[in-house]
Symmetry: none
C-alpha cells in the first residue's frame, strides 16, 4: 500500500512583483508554516497548463488532477451545475443562469436588473426554480435549479442537443434579452438554440405573476421574472478519478466551480454550510474536514478560494492577510497532524492572480512537496522566486499527479 | 490595451566555456546594461527549439515568433528570396543562387570560381540579372534577382512545381555544375528539376557573351557567366503575425535570412542602407529604428547578427567586442528610452554559436524579461550560467511569445 496524498491549493495564490511594494504578496506575507513546508521538502515551479497559457481555476484543477484540459474541459455550464448539486450526465448540455428583472417592450424582454436585486435563496429562489421546473414544458427533459444568490443552472437532457449556442445574457441593463443562436452548422445547435429561447419565454410567463414576485413588487423590490442562460457546455464521458489513478479521492472546496470539477470526476465532494468559497469561509473547519476525508480516502485536494478573490480585487494587503490566514488555519494544522511517513503533502496554486493585473495570468506557480523521503533542497521560503532554485526545477501541472503518486509509491515501472 | 513588446536578439550570442580563457564570451564581456536588465527582471534559460536541436537562425526565429519550425519552415531559398525583396507566394519554389565562373568542356560546364571573383552589385549583377529575366524563356513564370554581393535568388511560379530537387552548386571549383535531380517520386519534382537544368543552360547562354562579362575578361576578371541554384524551398501558407498574435509586428534586421522571416509572416521589415547584417552595421541607427518602429507597432524584434559572425570565426576577442558594442549601442539605448509600465523588454539569443565550435549548437540560451511587474529574482549577471538560477527556470522558445503576451496582458483566459 502506498502513502496517501494531500494537495493544498491556494487559489490564485501566486503573483508578480508589485512595483510600489517591491515584492510579491507571498514574499510580503508572514507564512511560517508554508516556509517550513518548503524547508522540509522539495520545491520548484509549475506551469499549471503550459508556459504562456492563462488558466481558469477549472482548467487548472483538471490539469492538477491529471486530466488534460484541452481534451476534457466541458465549459463552465456543466461544472457550475455539478457544483450546485444538479446531476449532469455525459451528453447533457448545461448553462449557468441568472435570475433577472425584465420588462416587456414591443414584444422584447428588456433587462432592467441582471441580478434581480441580488435575490437570494432566502428570498425564494428555490420556490421560483420549482415553479419553472414544474410548469415549463419543453421538447426535451430538463432540470432548472437555483444556485448561490441570484444564480441558477439549467441542464438539458436528450439526443440531438449541442453546446454550440450563444448566451442570452446581454451583460448590460437596458438591453433586450439576446436571442440564443447556433454557432455551428450542426442541426443540433439550431434545435438547442430554439429550445433555450422557448425556455426563456416560458419561464418568463411562469415567473412574471408568481406570488413571490407579486410580493417583491409590493415591497418595491425588482421581481425575479426572467432567467438568462449563458456559458453552454456539454459534459464529455471521462474516466473517473479512482479509475484513472487507482485511489479514492475527495475535493474539499467552497467554490461551486471547484466542487463541480470534483463531481465531474466522480470524487467525494462534501457539503458544509460553513465552507462558502468566499472570504467568510470557516477555514479551520475546512482543515478538519480535509483531515477527516484523508482518513477515508487515499487522495484529498483542498482549495482555498479567498486568496484568488483578493487578487481579482487588486488588494495587495487583503491578499497578504488571506495568505497568512491560510498559513495559520490550514497549512499549520496539516503540518501538526500529518505523518510524513504515511502522507505526501503538496502545497501549490492553480494559477497566478497578480494584484497588478486583477485576473489570472500564465506565470508559473510555486510548489512544495513534503514526505519523509522527498529530496530536501536549501530553499527556505515559499514564494515565487525562492522556489525557482529548488530541486524540482520547472515542470507541467499535468504531470503533478504522477509526481505525487511516484512519491507515494503508487506508480508502475515502465520497462524492467 | 496591453503593453507593447520589444525583443532584442543577439544572434548566436550564447556560447560555451572556452577552456583556455576559463569562461564564456558573455562572462568575459563588460555588459553593464545587459546585467541591469537581468537585475531588474526575470531571468532563465530557453531552448530555442528543444534540447539537443541545433537551430538555424531562421528556424529559431520562427520559434521565437511563435511558429513551430517543424511545421512551417520553408527552407532557405524562399527566405533568402523574401529577404532580397523578391515576392514569394505560397506554392512558389525558390532557390538561393551564386553568380559563378564556368568553362565549357566536353559539353559540361566546369566551375572555375563559385563566386565569380566575388562580383558585387556595383560591378553589374543587377544588369546581368535583368538580362537573364528578359532573355531566358521557361515553361513556367519565374523571377531571377541579384542579392548581396555574388548572391542571387530564383523564384519559380506556377502549378506542378516541387521543392524536392537537388542543388546545382558542386560546392568546389574544378567540378562540373551538378545536374539537378528530383529527390522524390512526385512527377512535379521531375518536372522542376528539368526546368532548373534548362534555366542553368539558358542563363549561361545569355551571360556568356554579355557586355559586362566581355569587359570583365578584358580586365582579367572572372566572368559571371553561370548561375548555381541551391537550397530549393517552397513557401507554405501560414497565418501572418498580426492574425496569429493580434499585434502589428516589425522585424529590424540586416541579415536577409531574418528579414525573410519577417516578410514571410507579413511583418513590417524596414530597409536601411546603414544596417547591413554584418560587423560594419550601424547599430545606433538600428536602435533608433527599433524605437521608431515601437511607436507604430505593438511588437518589434531587433536582430544583431555580428555576434554570430564572430562565433562562426571562432574569434573570442571579437565576440566579446561585439557583445560590448551591443550592450552600449543597443541595450543601453533601450534601457534609457523604454517605459516599463508600457513595454515588455526581452533580451535573448536565437541560439548558441560557441567560438570553440564555430557553428550553431543546441545549448540553451539566456533570457531576461523586464516590465514593471515582472517577478524579480536575485540574478545580477546576464550570462549562460547566472541566469540558470533565475525565476523563469528553463522553457521552450516556442512558448516565448505567449509568455511575453501574458506579461503584456494580451492573452485570453482558458476556462473560468
Amino acid at each position: 500500500m502506498g502513502k496517501r496524498i494531500l494537495v493544498l491549493v491556494g487559489d490564485g495564490m501566486a503573483d508578480r512583483f508589485e512595483p510600489d511594494r517591491g515584492e510579491t504578496p507571498l514574499q510580503a506575507a508572514d507564512v511560517p508554516n508554508m516556509d517550513e513546508l518548503a524547508r522540509r521538502g522539495s520545491t520548484g515551479l509549475m506551469d499549471p497548463i503550459r508556459p504562456g497559457v492563462r488558466p481558469g481555476s477549472d482548467t487548472a484543477h483538471l490539469a492538477l488532477l491529471g486530466y488534460d484540459p484541452f481534451k476534457v474541459y466541458p465549459g463552465r455550464g456543466p461544472l457550475e451545475a455539478l457544483g450546485a448539486g444538479v446531476e449532469v450526465r455525459p451528453g447533457d448540455v448545461a448553462f449557468r443562469c441568472n435570475f433577472a428583472t425584465v420588462r416587456r417592450e414591443d414584444g422584447d424582454l428588456i433587462v432592467e436588473d441582471r441580478r434581480a436585486g441580488r435575490i437570494s435563496e432566502k428570498e425564494g429562489t428555490p420556490e421560483l426554480a420549482r415553479a419553472v421546473n414544474e410548469e415549463v414544458d419543453l421538447p426535451v427533459e430538463f432540470e432548472f435549479r437555483e444556485a448561490v444568490g441570484h444564480r441558477a443552472v439549467l441542464v438539458l437532457r436528450g439526443d440531438g442537443l449541442s453546446a454550440d449556442v450563444t448566451d442570452a445574457d446581454p451583460k448590460r441593463p437596458g438591453r433586450p434579452v439576446k436571442e440564443v443562436k447556433p454557432t455551428s452548422d450542426d442541426p443540433a445547435a439550431e434545435r438547442t438554440a430554439e429550445i433555450v429561447n422557448e425556455f426563456i419565454r416560458r419561464a418568463h410567463e411562469v415567473l412574471e405573476n408568481h406570488p413571490i414576485n407579486e410580493e417583491r413588487r409590493k415591497r418595491g423590490l425588482p421581481p425575479a421574472n426572467a432567467i438568462l442562460p449563458r456559458g453552454a457546455g456539454r459534459l464529455r464521458r471521462v474516466e473517473g478519478f479512482e479509475e484513472r489513478h487507482g485511489m479514492s479521492g475527495a475535493v474539499v472546496a467552497g467554490a461551486s466551480l471547484i466542487k463541480g470539477i470534483g463531481r465531474m470526476l466522480d470524487m467525494t465532494v462534501p457539503e458544509d454550510e460553513g465552507i462558502t468559497g468566499r472570504k467568510d469561509t470557516d477555514l479551520r473547519r475546512k482543515a478538519e474536514l480535509a483531515l477527516r476525508c484523508l482518513e477515508e480516502h487515499e487522495f484529498v485536494l483542498v482549495n482555498f478560494n479567498a486568496v484568488d478573490e483578493m487578487g481579482h480585487d487588486g488588494d495587495f494587503r487583503g491578499k497578504v492577510e488571506m495568505l497568512e490566514r491560510m498559513d495559520r488555519e490550514l497549512v499549520g494544522r496539516i503540518l501538526d497532524e500529518v505523518d510524513p511517513s504515511e502522507v505526501v503533502v503538496c502545497l501549490t496554486a492553480d494559477h497566478s492572480t497578480p494584484v497588478t493585473v486583477g485576473d489570472h495570468t500564465a506565470d508559473p506557480v510555486p510548489v512544495a512537496i513534503w514526505t519523509d523521503d522527498a529530496r530536501r533542497d536549501d530553499v527556505e521560503r515559499f514564494d515565487e522566486v525562492s522556489v525557482a532554485r529548488g530541486c524540482l526545477g520547472r515542470f507541467p501541472g499535468l504531470r503533478l499527479m504522477d509526481v505525487l503518486k511516484d512519491l507515494a509509491d503508487r506508480l508502475e515501472k515502465f520497462g524492467a
